[in-house]
């Protein structure tokens, strides 16, 4: 194709988008490496070869991989749901899947299964996510559109939340309560390569499904009827979104607990840079989510080593002020 065949606006747009992706990927890679090098004892690795090997491979590597995957899952799922519902306030938790995963994990702690065998905790989370996804689909009905789906998701989410507090309330002993609470706050501490093997295939499969929705989400910009006229199959889209979120966010929550605000904030942050087409936002949000979680986790280790501050708390602490800023910005744009 000759140079003249590609208009300048298109070249610029591709270049701008590519540079955003490149910057995000660069930040994610740097944060990933930093995550391998930074520990509670400072920067770098111990001199002792055997200890260094163990810390790197069995503690920091799983943590970094999970951080990248979980952040990516949350950012991607948030961008997909905001596109699907055409609402910038949508986030992965709306479908009730993370609530279900949290409930499953809390039940695993409550029943003592998690104490008996370590993987019962993430397994309970996965089971909870799967049940929540099925319940949402059943409740919404076969041909439901975005609105019914979200109503079903909110209902399941509240139910899972109520049962989670019930489990906390009926906790067999104070240690179990503390364990449940800390788990609910969300963390990447003390996760092993086994967690990676458990979560990675599911998160990647879910992300692959979610990444197929880009064009359908673009078409939805025009409303459901015009989108259908452009070849969009609404039922298939909904199924891919629920299945993809169940896999990606369900697995993420099952191994790391609930980490809020990433799925809400990251698409917002990136929209001014990649444009408002939902499809363009998907890969960028996945990278942005990964970068955000990795940076937050490294910052936590650098600035608050040995403290019990959890990752989910940090993301909420960053997320809530951001939200306030968003409100003020919107008000300024709409106001007199």
């Amino acid at each position: 194709m000759s140079e003249a065949a590609v208009p300048a606006w298109l070249r610029d747009a591709v270049a701008a988008r590519m540079s955003v992706i490149a910057v995000l990927a660069g930040v994610a890679v740097v944060a990933f490496v930093a995550s391998l090098l930074v520990g509670p004892t400072g920067i770098g690795l111990p001199q002792d070869g055997e200890a260094a090997r163990m810390i790197l491979w069995e503690i920091r590597l799983p943590r970094a991989i999970l951080g990248a995957l979980i952040g990516g899952a949350l950012g991607l799922s948030g961008a997909v749901l905001q596109g699907y519902l055409r609402n910038p306030l949508a986030e992965p938790g709306l479908l009730g899947i993370s609530g279900g995963a949290a409930l499953g994990a809390v039940i695993a702690i409550h029943t003592g299964a998690a104490g008996a065998f370590a993987l019962a905790l993430p397994a309970g989370g996965l089971l909870g996510a799967a049940i929540a996804a099925l319940a949402v689909m059943l409740l919404a009905g076969e041909r439901s559109g975005p609105l019914t789906l979200i109503l079903a998701g909110v209902a399941i989410s509240s139910l899972a939340g109520a049962l989670t507090t019930l489990a906390l309330n009926l906790s067999p002993n104070p240690f179990a309560s503390v364990e449940m609470l800390f788990w609910l706050l969300g963390s990447l501490t003390d996760r092993s390569l086994v967690h990676v093997w458990l979560a990675a295939p599911l998160i990647l499969a879910g992300a692959a499904l979610l990444l197929t929705t880009g064009r359908a989400l673009d078409a939805l910009t025009l409303g459901e009827e015009a989108a259908q006229n452009l070849g969009l199959d609404l039922v298939s889209l909904r199924n891919r979104i629920v299945a993809g979120t169940a896999l990606a966010v369900g697995a993420a929550t099952a191994v790391a607990g609930t980490i809020g605000f990433v799925g809400l904030v990251v698409p917002h942050l990136l929209r001014p840079f990649v444009g408002h087409e939902p499809r363009r936002l998907l890969p960028a949000s996945a990278l942005g989510g990964a970068a955000l979680i990795l940076v937050a986790d490294v910052a936590l280790r650098l600035f608050a080593p040995f403290s019990e501050v959890r990752l989910g708390v940090v993301t909420a602490l960053v997320g809530a002020p951001f939200f306030l800023w968003l409100i003020i910005k919107t008000r300024r744009e709409l106001g007199p």
Partner: protein
């Protein structure tokens, strides 16, 4: 295989209410057909049914002899472009990107836009006179400008049948006329336009045929001249109207509601 978009014996129920009953309409290439009638007469439902968005409970819509239900959504989108009445755009896309959405039924799964895609987009923007603000966000435009952009999206599909639901609402007189000039051009190129309208003078002047609906049934179907009579308008809309000719063009003037 004939290239006719044909609705036969269409009956549609929405939420338990009977919206259409026994409606027939066949549209040939090269025709502009107006669908007219009072608010709630079933115009929009008929247009959606003929675009394959609603499966009728009774009757069948065929394209070239094949039922629309047999065609997959993407090939339907290459043949029939549907322009909804609702002009909501949910994200502040630029005009060019929004018009380019009209090429989605033609795009391979991962491929970028082809030269034909780009041609179709530029041509549609030129036809609807929106190229001047191609890089502005659609949400910043006025209502009439946005209506033209949305129409350009449908034109970018280069459809054999354009089904447009009240496309002239909110357009200034000049752009209303430009729009119908575009329809006439499309018809001359062997495409067909089905358009729901409330501007009866435009219907009388530009549409070859008209279907007049009342309470979901056909009140009249025929040439625009034969359908747009004072008697029919009184029955369909409950208005006293006069049909005149000014500078050789038909004008339909509603005068007063009938008691």
């Amino acid at each position: 295989m004939s290239d006719t978009l044909s609705a036969r014996g269409i009956g549609v129920r929405l939420g338990g209410r009977r919206v259409l009953r026994g409606v027939d309409l066949s549209v040939e290439p090269g025709e502009i057909v107006a669908v007219i009638g009072a608010n709630g007469a079933g115009k929009s439902t008929l247009l959606k049914t003929m675009s394959g968005l609603i499966t009728p409970g009774e009757g069948v819509v065929t394209l070239g002899g094949r039922s629309l239900a047999e065609l997959d959504a993407r090939s339907l989108g290459r043949e029939i472009a549907y322009l909804p009445q609702d002009r909501t755009v949910h994200w502040p896309l630029t005009v060019r990107r929004l018009v380019a959405l009209g090429r989605l039924p033609f795009r391979a799964r991962v491929a970028g836009p082809s030269l034909e895609d780009r041609d179709a987009v530029e041509e549609a923007m030129a036809a609807m006179d929106v190229a001047a603000f191609a890089d502005r966000a659609v949400t910043e435009l006025s209502g009439g400008e946005r209506a033209r952009v949305l129409l350009a999206r449908a034109l970018a599909q280069r459809p054999r049948f354009l089904v447009a639901d009240e496309p002239t609402t909110g357009l200034d007189p000049a752009h209303g006329l430009t729009l119908f000039a575009q329809f006439v051009r499309m018809a001359a190129h062997g495409r067909a336009v089905i358009v729901a309208l409330h501007d009866l003078s435009l219907a009388a002047r530009y549409c070859h045929r008209a279907l007049l609906l009342k309470d979901g049934s056909t009140l009249a179907l025929g040439t625009a001249r034969a359908v747009l009579t004072p008697q029919h308008l009184a029955q369909a809309y409950g208005v006293r109207a006069t049909v005149a000719e000014i500078e050789g063009r038909p004008v339909v003037l509603p005068i007063e509601p009938l008691p």
